[in-house]
Symmetry: C2
Subunit: 742 residues, 2 copies
């Protein structure tokens, strides 16, 4: 087959999977759960705009009352002969399990696209790992795992196609947030190609099997001990045939795209002695680390794609015969088991092999814990030991059970020429949106690859957001947070007191601070540690008073456009003239209908971003700046050792021992008293001239920090001068003064 | 410790587990599901009667809206410091999974008593296997499996005690129906002993950790990637310590009872070469078969009790070093996995062992498929082969994937002297209740062991019931249906045309048929195959017209008392005089408050059962009785090959191939037209003298088989003579005749 001219698009993993799923879907029964929601939202939006699936119809999207209802609706809709899809994760998937047994038992083709997320246990966590999908591995669903945004588009197609042909439902799995919300420049499927590959006979048979009064059958009967076992075994042949169907579709996808897929894909030295077996987005980092940090070593990576049915022969086919040691990485924890699921599977595969390699297990990435090149190096190093650590953890310091491997988090493995940029913003300040635009500009207008990942804390609006952007000439497989940035921008000057934003900025990198401090005021305002870091790492330090110019232009506090042009100027990712052109084209597209005034304001912001960057001359004295000892606060150990590091974005460094005594997830209450974030750009002041003493400001203050006060003469007399009051109004208040305490 | 005088009781597995659970329970949050319901019902009933738990309080029982709600209530109640218990199975357990993660994650002590049952997939099935508990094995719950009624009492105690001390919640598992509903004579725990063993300090700490406004903490927080992983690992120490806690309590239970329990128990030759690893009630049959059919062979059985945490060391400690081949039996099917769960665990344990034995996997007992001594022999035989079959099935004929082992179902392994009795009754005819009374009489008044198991079909009332009773001087470990009975009673004469009731009756056994046929009429009525079987096996054949004498006495159709005394007379399980005495004592106890008349009627029934048994002289001609060829019916293949055998209670023999084409569980509709059961003892007749033409009989007939008819003169004229009619009543009907067609 000839490879067609690819459709290049910049999108995240949810959009990629949703794009393919839409093609094969008659009915989508949904219930939103993080991080799967954007898939259902995209499908819903496309349906609202009348987009057509492969059969020329608009997808019917129905939101149910919970994931349990969604799964029930999927089951019913399939039984009625409609190709039905859903999107879920975590607890949502758990609620679907009962229906998953039914759907698989009745051999109904369906795909559940799952953005793998952890499960609430000692605490809730909305972030990614494989706990959810592993909790459903026994349902009879096939499981196909994608490790990147591109794969979540390609393998979504394999899942739908193979399910229709093989009559076994699929979970199509990709990592929550890391893949679901990572933005990448990828090749998108043309629906014509998807239609070409669809087995129309199988589809017709599926539709003919639908419950239909014209040729009725009974489904969902109750069976007794006499026949239940035999009837259950009768379905085995479908699971026996399914893997070959998957292989065939993978081959066809490979031919059409040039991207090779097999149930298990091996990369690395064909004569490798040490091999990692893994599934999901970590494969990208492992592969990148092997290529860029460990080249020449006798190592390899076996990527698990078709996890269920798990076919030993396919696994053994790609595993080099030379392998002596294997480390299996699991991204879930099953307390009380001999090992986590993938580890158990690999041991079972190799059990009967002569001279089988040794097998070690490691756990990583729970709750979206970042897995970095340094950790990968450490995992390969572990295999070099005579007695490698088994059942290890990686990515944490386990000073209780001593399971953790030591690693160097400074190792980076991005290919030469990658430009890595980090932006510290305040939730809902527009930074993330602006960065998504930047990626789109670079992705759409150049042949560069682009990647964006946005780390939020769970405070969302008002919390810190850290945008991680990479650009480069090579495909970007860095599925980990940026730890060696070329450029760091801080959009909120208060952060200089709270976060170590420069530790991930490389020697000689650029740092842009949005601040109303003048270069002279910086001397007084910046903490000594930041000064030293700027000096020691020879950082090019820039400031811009974004808020001032945004206000002047009339944009209020919306500094995003201005910061974006500053970013293009300082990073030179693309020629500046082009950047300005694309930015202004983007403005035309976004605000074209809002009138010339709005357009002009935004054009002006672009120009202001270029014009008002000030380069700071770093005084030699900064290299030896001395910390002012902060007055020591007498706070409980938990605050000092857990909460304060967490608030500093340094919670990753908290060792396991700090959770001893609260293993059940209990946290002390009343901790917000120690958490003064001080991130507000402006603070309210009582305007006594305008106050009508209605007290509504106090009534609506969620923190009860605005309080009206009535004072008698003696109290007024003893108050300090700055404590201003006005005459209280109201009957009986004639002798009292009033103040709104802010 | 001195073993106290045991409290001997006759009860089923649910009562045994409920008895212990009540002691340790403050709150029971329940939702009934077969086969777990009797546990919650017992606890509810005991609470209603004011029974006290170990803390002198009545258990608070709350029924929720579903199992999901019950699990949520358990979680909340535990968080409030109340020892909380629930009882469930199958889909019910699936609905509890989300909360199970929370309960385990928060290290809350709880016991879920689970009567393991299969899960609805291609079809619903209310019967037993391990699909449900295996679907929850990753939740962080400990899993402790009992294989008998006695164990479900003993290990229930271990589960509660270890959970309180170790802070890890437990699933206490025993096989649905086979153990849950089997009646056995066992030793019951005195609550004083349970209180002795309880760790009061641990209990106090649990209660102190309860959510309490006096010393508030936050639970159920949301954690981010920074600390989730570390906090999760912090709980590992509890799982590390738990197994020793279980071992200690098992030791203490062993000392107090004389019954030995370990996480893994090995029985058999200490130098065994072939070993079965299994969990649940099948262990009893395996042990019995090894003792009685395979003694002297180098074989053994490793019983899995503590399935989670699974501790390799304990497993290896009890496994003989001499073992060359292991067969792991799993009672669940996980399509697409390399093997079923226990098989995977055993491979993982042995992976790193030098000269590890070969490991083979087999699946058995899905949906309560009976697993018999013949099958156990076959499994051991398989290991004797040079190339044993792996991933086999046992108990079915798999002529599609050819996984099944061939077995001899005629092998029996009950110890010498066991009396096995089988009763064919009609659902709700009193047979099952009477048999339970018989077991109780024998259990309570003699030192004999007794076992009862009651096989219903899912028609329940109106369907066939088969009671399986065993009595003997030795403990009865036969956890399979009776296949070599000493005595068979048929309480419904219509069954002679439908069921082969004699195939399981041994040579020279006794057969009692309740019938209104005279000995002479038998010649005409009995099918030839039954005659031949009676003659060939030298069966002692008795009849009794139970309905006639019951009616004469005034008991209507209640023949159970009469059939029971007949049973005691014919089987001589205990001296007849004693039996009569106990039966009459039982009558006094049951009907004492209902007046002398009721007592006298039941006394009379006992006497009638003894007096009116007629021994049939079997004519020599029966040995060569010839079948009258039934007129061949032109029915669809599915009816002939699946439905007819099922209705004959021969569905176990239907091979897998008969389900090819309907692997998705689809059944043809309209099959009841082929299923004429003819089990009614009496049929209604239209009484034209009394008919007032109200037509209500027709209105309420659920089968629409009673229909009123109006006929004109021509129709009356052409009707046969027996087609009686009366004058139709009602305006305009003057020229019509009326008939109620029954």
């Amino acid at each position: 087959m000839n490879k067609k001219k690819p459709i290049i698009m910049t999108m995240d993993g949810t959009t990629a999977a949703a794009h393919v799923s839409y093609a094969f879907t008659d009915v989508a029964a949904i219930f939103p759960i993080t991080p799967s929601s954007p898939m259902a939202e995209s499908v819903d939006e496309w349906a609202a705009h009348g987009r057509k699936n492969l059969f020329g119809q608009t997808v019917q999207v129905t939101e149910m009352q919970s994931e349990a209802g969604a799964a029930g609706a999927v089951h019913g809709s399939l039984a009625a002969g409609a190709l039905t899809t859903t999107y879920t994760a975590s607890q949502g998937l758990l609620l679907m399990i009962p229906n998953m047994y039914k759907i698989a038992g009745e051999l109904l083709p369906a795909v559940f696209h799952v953005t793998a997320r952890t499960l609430a246990a000692h605490a809730l966590c909305i972030f990614g790992d494989h706990s959810d999908v592993m909790a459903a591995r026994q349902t009879g669903f096939a499981m196909l795992a994608s490790s990147s945004v591109q794969e979540s588009m390609d393998l979504a197609a394999v899942a739908h196609l193979a399910s229709i042909k093989g009559r076994v439902p699929f979970m199509h799995i990709f990592d929550g947030f890391r893949t679901s919300h990572e933005i990448q420049k990828i090749e998108a499927w043309d629906y014509e190609d998807l239609r070409d590959m669809l087995d129309m006979d199988a589809l017709r048979e599926f539709r003919n099997r639908a419950l239909n009064p014209e040729h009725p059958v009974i489904r969902g009967t109750a069976q007794n001990p006499d026949i239940f076992f035999q009837a259950k075994e009768a379905a085995s042949s479908y699971y026996q045939k399914l893997p070959q169907i998957v292989v065939d579709y993978m081959k066809e996808v490979s031919e059409r795209t040039g991207r090779t897929y097999k149930p298990f894909d091996y990369v690395g030295d064909p004569n490798a002695e040490h091999v990692i077996v893994a599934m999901g987005s970590v494969c990208e980092t492992i592969e990148e680390t092997m290529n860029n940090n460990l080249s020449g070593e006798k190592i390899g990576l076996l990527k698990v794609r078709l996890y269920r049915p798990f076919v030993s022969e396919y696994f053994l086919d790609v595993l080099p015969k030379s392998v002596k040691k294997i480390t299996v990485l699991d991204r879930t924890k099953e307390p009380g088991a001999l090992g986590d699921p993938l580890f158990m599977d690999v041991k079972a595969v190799l059990f009967d092999q002569k001279d089988a390699p040794s097998v070690y297990g490691g756990r990583y990435g729970l709750g979206s814990k970042d897995t970095t090149p340094g950790m990968i190096v450490s995992i390969f190093d572990n295999m070099k030991q005579d007695m490698p650590k088994d059942h290890f953890t990686i990515g944490i310091e386990d000073d209780v059970m001593h399971t953790s491997l030591v690693y160097d988090n400074k190792i980076s493995s991005e290919p030469e020429g990658t430009i890595a940029c980090k932006f510290w913003g305040l939730g809902s300040d527009g930074t993330v949106g602006a960065n998504k635009t930047a990626i789109k500009i670079i992705g759409d207008h150049t042949d560069m690859y682009a990647q964006g990942y946005f780390a939020y804390d769970s405070k969302k609006s008002g919390g810190v957001t850290i945008s991680h952007l990479r650009f480069g000439k090579h495909p970007i497989k860095s599925t980990y947070l940026i730890n060696r940035a070329n450029y760091v921008a801080c959009h909120n000057q208060q952060y200089v007191h709270q976060y170590d934003m420069l530790k991930d900025l490389r020697e000689g990198g650029k740092f842009l601070l949005n601040t109303f401090w003048t270069p002279e005021e910086l001397e007084r305002q910046l903490p000594a540690s930041m000064k030293r870091e700027i000096a020691e790492k020879h950082i090019e330090f820039y400031i811009i008073d974004g808020f001032k110019y945004a206000r002047e232009i009339g944009l209020g506090s919306r500094i995003n456009m201005l910061m974006q042009s500053a970013f293009f100027k300082l990073t030179e990712v693309i020629p500046l003239d082009d950047a300005v052109k694309y930015l202004k084209q983007g403005i035309d597209k976004t605000y074209g209908k809002k009138g010339q005034k709005i357009l002009d304001m935004n054009y002006a912001a672009v120009d202001a971003g270029l014009a008002h960057i000030v380069k700071v001359d770093v005084p030699a004295s900064w290299a030896t700046a001395e910390d002012v000892q902060a007055p020591s606060r007498n706070v409980p150990a938990f605050i000092e050792e857990v909460l304060v590091p967490m608030n500093r974005q340094e919670g990753d460094n908290i060792p396991v021992s700090k959770f001893v005594g609260i293993e059940d997830g209990a946290f002390p209450s009343g901790t917000s008293q120690y958490e003064k974030r001080g991130v507000a750009i402006s603070i309210p002041v009582w305007n006594k001239e305008k106050c009508i003493q209605c007290n509504q400001c106090s009534f609506v203050c969620p923190h009860a920090s605005i309080r009206p006060i009535l004072l008698d003469e003696a109290e007024v007399a003893s108050a300090p001068d700055a404590f201003e009051t006005i005459q209280a109004s109201g009957k009986g208040f004639e002798n009292l003064k009033y103040r709104m305490q802010v």
